[in-house]
Symmetry: C2
């Protein structure tokens, strides 16, 4: 369980399989974001049809509402949201630092004000680990201190050191929870297909835009123990895009090949391709759903804003290469009408298409990596995607 099998690589780009308690996923893998225990506007059936294999849910949001105890009472996160495939929960760190109004960071943890009702709450590495344990996703993330991408070295060093100290506490608490779980599961006749462990914990590498800090952080994380995966956080948070690409390229040769690499918060098509080129395996982003709700659809020829008057009587599908419900059932003219008329179905159809688009994109990259054509594929993909829209 939690074993990552590297199947093919093409320069830095890799393709593999990761075994999780609720199923095996193939990488590169894009995971849709179900912030509040639902991928906005989409049902679990939609997600299955779109080919989603792994979904992310936000610990901070579910902790604040409805509360992890309610989720546990309703059968845990999988049962709660009707999703029987693998789930990953983030640690709440990113949200505490991006959403909360007031916050006070100490070594103990973070005191913050809920974005919902203003109530003071306190998150520590131990609490974040316990909340995620209670939610019950396949993969939990360590609680981290996130700083803006433009943070200076002193600030970034401070956050990195705190994140590393917090990581030790997350690991310790997660180990305790696993031990007590094993005690509860001491039945010697346990069927062999039950997972050995119900959840794994992944560390998050911070260090801002400072390469030396990132390298040091990586070294110290790897020295801390053996992991089943590794996340790179604090990128795509305000720094220029080339800085992110350079950082990934610099880190890649230092990353152990046997660990899946999760680049947090990245999910625009161009970034996904660039990150896979630089050896990343897993991705999450609200871009497909948020953009979908704004009427922007990803297509092989670049983004399309479906509200555009040019599509008024356009009988063509949104993306003729796509097999999603939006593209196989409806015309651009109808989709535009749904947005003009502010109909809920429009939000759903474009969200569905964009999620499907990114999952197909990951699938195309997997295929290209496996047959050794990834570099050519990426060039051709970029030429088409980045050209001025001809559609």
């Amino acid at each position: 369980m939690f074993e990552f099998t590297l199947e093919a690589s093409s320069s830095a780009a890799r393709s593999g399989r990761l075994a999780l308690p609720h199923g095996t996923i193939e990488t590169p893998c894009f995971m849709p974001v179900g912030t509040q225990g639902t991928v906005r506007a989409l049902s679990p059936n939609d997600l299955r049809t779109a080919g989603a294999s792994l979904v992310l849910a936000n610990t901070y949001h579910l902790h604040v509402r409805p509360g992890e105890d309610v989720v546990a009472q309703l059968g845990g996160l999988h049962r709660f949201m009707g999703w029987d495939r693998p789930l990953l929960t983030d640690s709440g760190g990113f949200q505490v630092f991006s959403l909360a109004g007031f916050r006070r960071v100490s070594d103990e943890g973070v005191e913050f004000q809920s974005h919902l009702d203003g109530a003071r709450r306190f998150l520590t590495p131990e609490r974040a680990t316990e909340i995620q344990w209670t939610l019950g996703a396949d993969v939990a993330m360590a609680f981290d201190h996130v700083v803006p991408g433009v943070a200076d070295e002193t600030t970034a060093r401070d956050a990195l050191e705190r994140t590393l100290r917090w990581l030790e506490r997350c690991v310790e608490r997660h180990r305790e929870l696993l031990e007590s779980w094993k005690v509860g599961k001491s039945d010697p006749f346990q069927p062999s297909n039950l997972p050995t462990f119900p959840q794994t914990l992944w560390p998050i590498l911070q260090g801002g835009a400072h390469q030396a800090l990132r390298e040091e952080g990586l070294r110290r994380i790897l020295e801390m123990g053996s992991w089943s995966g590794l996340a790179i956080g604090g990128l795509s948070v305000g720094e220029p895009k080339p800085a992110m690409y350079e950082m990934l390229a610099a880190l890649e040769p230092r990353l152990p090949p046997a660990l899946p690499r999760y680049l947090m918060g990245v999910g625009f098509p161009v970034d996904l391709v660039a990150a896979v080129e630089r050896g990343m395996d897993l991705f999450d982003c609200v871009a497909p759903t948020r953009n979908g709700r704004n009427g922007t659809a990803f297509t092989p020829d670049g983004p399309v804003n479906i509200r555009n008057a040019a599509y008024r009587e356009d009988a063509r599908p949104l993306d003729e290469t796509c097999d999603c419900e939006a593209c196989t059932t409806f015309s651009r003219g109808y989709l535009r009408h749904l947005f003009q008329a502010e109909e809920l179905l429009g939000l759903r159809l474009l969200s569905l298409h964009n999620v499907r688009y990114l999952i197909r994109l990951a699938g195309e990259m997997r295929a290209a990596i496996r047959d050794g054509s990834f570099a050519r594929w990426a060039d051709a993909w970029r030429r088409r995607y980045l050209q001025p829209e001809l559609a």
Copy 2:
């Protein structure tokens, strides 16, 4: 085509089949309302899964946006909205009288102000018929003058007379359109499974809450020619509920058994049962979707407001007798969370459930009528539905 076959009756309640160009529907039949060419929050797949056999779309709304020419350009209403089963369009009369700001009625037609952009527009019986012809639904409705349920006899008489004069003009225009269609379709090798006619036109009986007017209107409509169906309009528009039930009971013996009877705008569960008891066959209402979006779900034990704090940790399905996605996949606790968190999926799941509920309700009534147990069934149904909620 357009033939109605009465299969069973139990006192006034009837069950039958109506053959339409896009399929045969069974009555009693509830049709979900797709005001703007989409049943709010639901996809055609959702509607098929819910068992919808006939969907209503609003001529007024589609005329104002995107315009019937755009719909025609995109392949007609069926293709436009991705719905391959029967469709019915209303005439626009009800919306002109309920939605438009300014309106001026003359015998020629109605001048009104669009509720969208305030532009002055003009609808006549001929235009309403042409628009519906262009949209291409299986069933079109005659353009009528609707008055409030509490209108006095003079006002109701005036509207009835105008509706009858307008009906003659609708029929004439519809006949012309059919004739020109036949000329265009003069291919002698036309496959025999093509419909003889692509669309039928149904009259709407008005007359307010005045029984004598209703009876006179009915007589004059029936004298005007042979119809394939008959709608009763202007009920459920502000008059007390008992007045509607009495009117239906009084009209029923005068209605030709061979015509399907469409009671417009009725669709709360109690009204549906009462109307079937009084011989009605077809129904439409926004209640299931509008109530669903407000968090109210129909269940056999009466309405449930899913926002209620009592459902916070309730692991039971919304309606344990229901086979819809909401009831088979999710707990009440999760559905409540979706509403608390203002998630789009909640709007969709409760809309889906309510539509499925009414379609199942119509199906149960069909079955009870066929096996002769309708009176007993209706008593038992009411006892359970109207009791204080025990759920």
